[in-house]
């Protein structure tokens, strides 16, 4: 059992507040992804959980034990570093076995575990090599194998795939997810890549400026973003926003159109994903600015009431720059945000 609880964790570097009052519970064996733009505090939070950084305030619990006063080695964690940190002076075998040697396990046990994890990561052919003789992808595998060999309760990964090229990244993504699911460890995975987050996570915690904005399943984060930041950050292209003024009785005026919405009397932001728009007889009038054929779809960038607006349309359509489209939002996919709080409105 290794449930992780982060309670009221805050971190200040001098006068700079890197983390504000973080509260997060990660279930046993859950794959949690911390997603956010560079500089939002993902690494800092991960390092606090690992014990490489001390929180200014708050508590960290792992497996029902308070660990924030313990050194990293007593927390039952293993870590995969962004730049791999594969020791250059040790062979792949000794790298994978490093933690086991530190635990003074007998030689045959070290050998057994190193060979097993090397097999899992498909690097059994490389055990005698030094890191200088490995490719980036192979080093990455060594770093993961070294963590897995510890048979930890929790595995922490800081952008482990960010230094790989796109194709390798996609391949490793699936492989890592499979290996980690097999190993029954709780995983915290830091990334700024939303595709990685969506495809790997059981749950995503979206971070912004040192706060967790939303922690939910990938589909929930995608469909029901809790705040405008999440809506604008997740999805490629992200959600479209338009100002909406109340027209009474749960009706809203959006770019001259009357749409159904929540019963409120203060202005809101209307939001819709580009793929939830269809050309129709009635809808938002959009002037086409740019057309980008993407093969399966057509990405159309338009202007609606002077605002930037994107639609992902069927590639069979013929759309030209300068055309005026009438785009109907799919009613059950429309979301509303309060411009004051930037939070979602039900």
């Amino acid at each position: 059992m290794a449930e992780i609880q982060i309670k009221n964790v805050a971190k200040r570097f001098g006068s700079y507040q890197a983390l504000h009052d973080i509260n997060l519970t990660i279930q046993d064996q859950e794959f949690m992804v911390l997603l956010g733009a560079s500089g939002c505090g993902k690494t800092t939070l991960l390092r606090i959980i690992a014990g490489l950084e001390t929180a200014t305030e708050g508590e960290v619990w792992i497996g029902g034990r308070r660990v924030d006063h313990l050194p990293p080695k007593d927390r039952g964690i293993a870590m995969v570093f962004q730049n791999y940190a594969v020791f250059p002076h040790l062979t792949v075998f000794e790298n994978i076995g490093f933690g086991l040697r530190m635990q003074k396990l007998p030689n045959d046990e070290v050998k057994r575990r190193v060979e097993r994890t090397a097999g899992l990561m498909h690097i059994d052919q490389l055990l005698g090599r030094y890191s200088g003789e490995l490719s980036g992808g192979q080093r990455q595998r060594v770093a993961v194998a070294r963590a897995l060999a510890m048979e930890p309760d929790v595995i922490l990964m800081d952008e482990p795939l960010s230094n790989l090229d796109a194709l390798l990244r996609m391949e490793m993504r699936a492989e890592l997810k499979g290996v980690l699911a097999e190993s029954n460890t709780t995983a915290i995975y830091v990334t700024h890549d939303q595709v990685e987050a969506m495809s790997m996570a059981d749950r995503i915690s979206v971070m912004h400026q040192g706060k967790i904005v939303q922690a939910a399943s990938p589909i929930e984060v995608y469909r029901n973003p809790a705040a405008e930041f999440v809506a604008g950050f997740i999805g490629n292209p992200p959600m479209n926003f338009l100002p909406a003024t109340p027209a009474g009785d749960g009706k809203w005026t959006v770019a001259g159109q009357i749409l159904d919405g929540p019963s409120r009397t203060t202005p809101l932001h209307f939001a819709i994903r580009p793929e939830d728009l269809r050309p129709a007889d009635t809808g938002l009038a959009a002037t086409v600015k740019v057309v980008e054929p993407l093969g399966a779809h057509l990405l159309v960038t338009c202007s609606v009431d002077g605002a930037l607006f994107r639609a992902v349309l069927d590639s069979d359509l013929t759309v030209r720059r300068g055309d005026t489209l009438t785009l109907a939002p799919q009613p059950d996919r429309v979301r509303w945000f309060d411009p004051e709080t930037t939070l979602a409105v039900a």
């Binding site: 940190a85 250059p88 002076h89 490093f98 933690g99 530190m102 635990q103 890191s131 200088g132 070294r146």
Partner: protein, 281 residues
């Protein structure tokens, strides 16, 4: 100018300078060492090696190196690690620690002589404390151990900093991430030092040790100031051949012997601390 030729043209002045003022005198010395006036001979070497003072001066030199270099290595490593951990004031501490480097070896010898001689600080202190009732002549033939200790101390004081600066630079090159990885995987501070710092520091250790060991075989002025003739070393014997006995053939042979020992130890150090291919940072 042709880009292929340019680098060679640029290093030409330095090369010419070294050939003129290093290689040429070296050839002259070698010629002197291997001749006594009528053709090639090993007589000079037979003479210096056969002299009764040779074994004792060789032994003294080696003993001194064996006593001083390991202590300096340990001290320099300790100091370099401490400096590296400092957030603030690091440069200031480094400057202070490297002050002895700016002092000539003869001056260093004289400073320590001022401490150990009959009217020196040590004697004033001891008699002030009432430990001795009249000044002791520590640096005499009656106290060979003290003479050795004084020389070793002066050498340590004088030349640890040369290793320190090399090691500080080397430690600074080791990425912090390796230490964090080692810590996460359960390495204690001592294990991080022995398993990460030391192996990754091998290139710097090589340089520092080679430099220091060569200097140790050339030890001269400090020994002369503190030990005089009580503690003969290879270099002081060379000096004696050249300037007291006016036998430049023998002096040249001694110089070549010191060179050979230095080269030998250099090769041993390079070999012992070599980094396997592909295992560099």
């Amino acid at each position: 100018m042709n880009a292929r030729v340019l680098p060679y043209v640029l290093i030409l002045p330095v090369t010419a300078f070294l050939c003129l003022f290093f290689l040429y005198p070296f050839v002259l010395v070698a010629k002197q060492a291997f001749s006594t006036g009528d053709g090639f001979t090993l007589d000079n070497f037979r003479q210096v090696v056969g002299y009764w003072k040779f074994p004792i001066s060789l032994q003294n030199t080696l003993l001194l190196a064996a006593a001083v270099v390991p202590v300096q290595l340990a001290l320099a490593l300790l100091m370099a690690t401490m400096v590296n951990k400092m957030q603030r004031g690091r440069d200031l501490v480094l400057y202070v620690w490297t002050i002895p480097l700016g002092i000539s070896d003869l001056a260093a010898g004289i400073i320590w002589l001022a401490i150990f001689e009959q009217s020196g600080f040590l004697n004033s202190m001891l008699s002030g404390l009432g430990v001795v009732d009249r000044p002791v002549n520590f640096l005499s033939y009656q106290h060979p151990g003290v003479v050795f200790l004084a020389i070793a101390l002066a050498e340590i004081w004088r030349a640890t900093a040369i290793m320190l600066v090399i090691l500080v630079a080397g430690i600074g090159l080791i990425p912090k991430e390796y230490y964090e990885a080692a810590e996460v995987f359960g390495a204690s501070p001592w294990k991080r030092f022995t398993r990460i710092t030391l192996p990754l520091l091998r290139p710097s250790l090589q340089t520092a040790l080679v430099l220091r060991v060569i200097l140790a075989f050339e030890v001269f002025a400090v020994v002369l100031a503190l030990g005089g003739t009580l503690f003969p070393v290879l270099m002081s014997e060379t000096y004696a051949y050249q300037f007291d006995l006016l036998d430049s053939g023998a002096a040249a042979a001694m110089a070549l012997i010191i060179l050979a020992i230095s080269i030998g130890f250099t090769l041993i150090i390079l070999r012992a601390l070599r980094v396997p291919k592909g295992a560099t940072i």
